[in-house]
Amino acid sequence: MIEQFKSIWQRRELLFYMVTSELKAEHKNKVLGFLWSFLDPLLLMATYILLVVLIFDRGGPQFPVLLFCAILSWRWFTSSLSIAVVSITSKSKVVQTTRFPLAVLPLSGIIAGLVDYLVAFVILIPLLFAFDATFSVNVLWLPVLIIVQLVLTIGAALLCAALGTYLTDLKNIVQFILRLGFYLSPILYSVVDTVPERFETYYMLNPFAALIESYKNILVRGEPPSEYMAIAAAVAVIVFVIGFWYFGREEHRLVKAI
């Protein structure tokens, strides 16, 4: 695995260029360009506010900003996996003709997503003020949460990238799992109000339940991260190791499988 890290590190310049070109290509052709980094989650938030507040008459006074925190984090994860699952097959021409560490392909999607995520804080910060978020020293946990999410996403994305090359319909399966994950994570609701206490432990085993709850805690509620974050971090590391191990084992076979 250290060999893998080394080979990726040696090609960090490539990774950097892949990320910037991904970001540029993504935004270049649109009239509003980079504004979509804000507009996309904002419009998504508006849709869910319509659903939860107007139709179901739920959600508290801080609901919009809690929702926005959750959507940002979740959006980074889903875009990373959706890119990863086709990252090798969609670049088949390059992969079949140029030698470079293939992990760069899913990784560049993740990093591009991270940039989008951080850019959206430009909107999140005024929202936090507008909805009276409680600020505390717990905000300092933010980099830790982002790193845990990054580690988890890299592991999951490498698995998706390798398996998605062998299995054409993994793309559809991943879309379904992500949809399910959206409802099984505290995005549209809060854990305390919705999840029955006896199920809480099982519910929180989902690393994204702990992650999103923690984001909401530190950014909006001024509280420390969820006590289940330690488990989420452990799951993240395990997924990361499995992802790297599997990807490394399959890497030289992937090109032939395209």
Binding site: E13, L14, Y17, M18, S21, K24, A25, K28, N29, T89, K93, V94, Q96, T97, T98, R99, F100, T165, Y166, L167, T168, D169, I173, H252, R253, V255, K256, A257, I258
Partner: protein, 241 residues
Amino acid sequence: MEAIRATDLGIRFKVGKRKRTSARNIVVSGFRRRRGGADDFWALRHVSFTVSKGDTIGVIGRNGSGKSTLLRVIGGIYPPDEGEVSVQGSVSTQFSLGAGFETELSGIENIYLNGILMGLSKKYIDSVLDDIIGFADIGEFINMPVKTYSTGMETRLGFAIAIHVHRDIVLIDEILVVGDAEFRKKCDERLDKIMGERTILLVSHDMNAIRRFANKVIWLDKGQIVAQGEPEEVIQRYLGS
């Protein structure tokens, strides 16, 4: 000095097992096909040859005979499933003209992206950027997105980048047939210039190009070497087959 040596080289594609499949296929036929063997397809088999430093090797054969697979093995894309291949020196895989183009980005942005993909450093690309733009000679289009390019322009840009990647062994697949007469002349001159100093493997259906550049020819058919040696001799046998 020896640059490339292949000994009993074999590349196998597993048609039933590892090949891209769908969940439905696995359910329907996966269990029946569990034991590989019958479904294996050998893209190359029992291929042995040596290339000396400075040689220009022409690789000929019908479509699907394993020519591109051979270049990919030498380029390190496919590890051999059987036999061995040893390569002395750095390899440029310039059989990939324009493969890494991001069509939304401009020509210049793609020069950087592709150059770095091929292993150049940004600093080096900075220093040869003007040469690359000059060689491609596509005028104002260099600042426009690659999706607005004609096939010819894409090839010109791809070739212009590729020839600035200096490697000991140069792999070229079918590029001499594209582009207009003037650009072709430019490419030929460039090839003439690097011939002898570098080892070149040239895959082409254009026998005139092979005659002009190669000092040795390998004829592949169905993944096996039918003949190798003197260009004229092998070409005559190939054309007569």
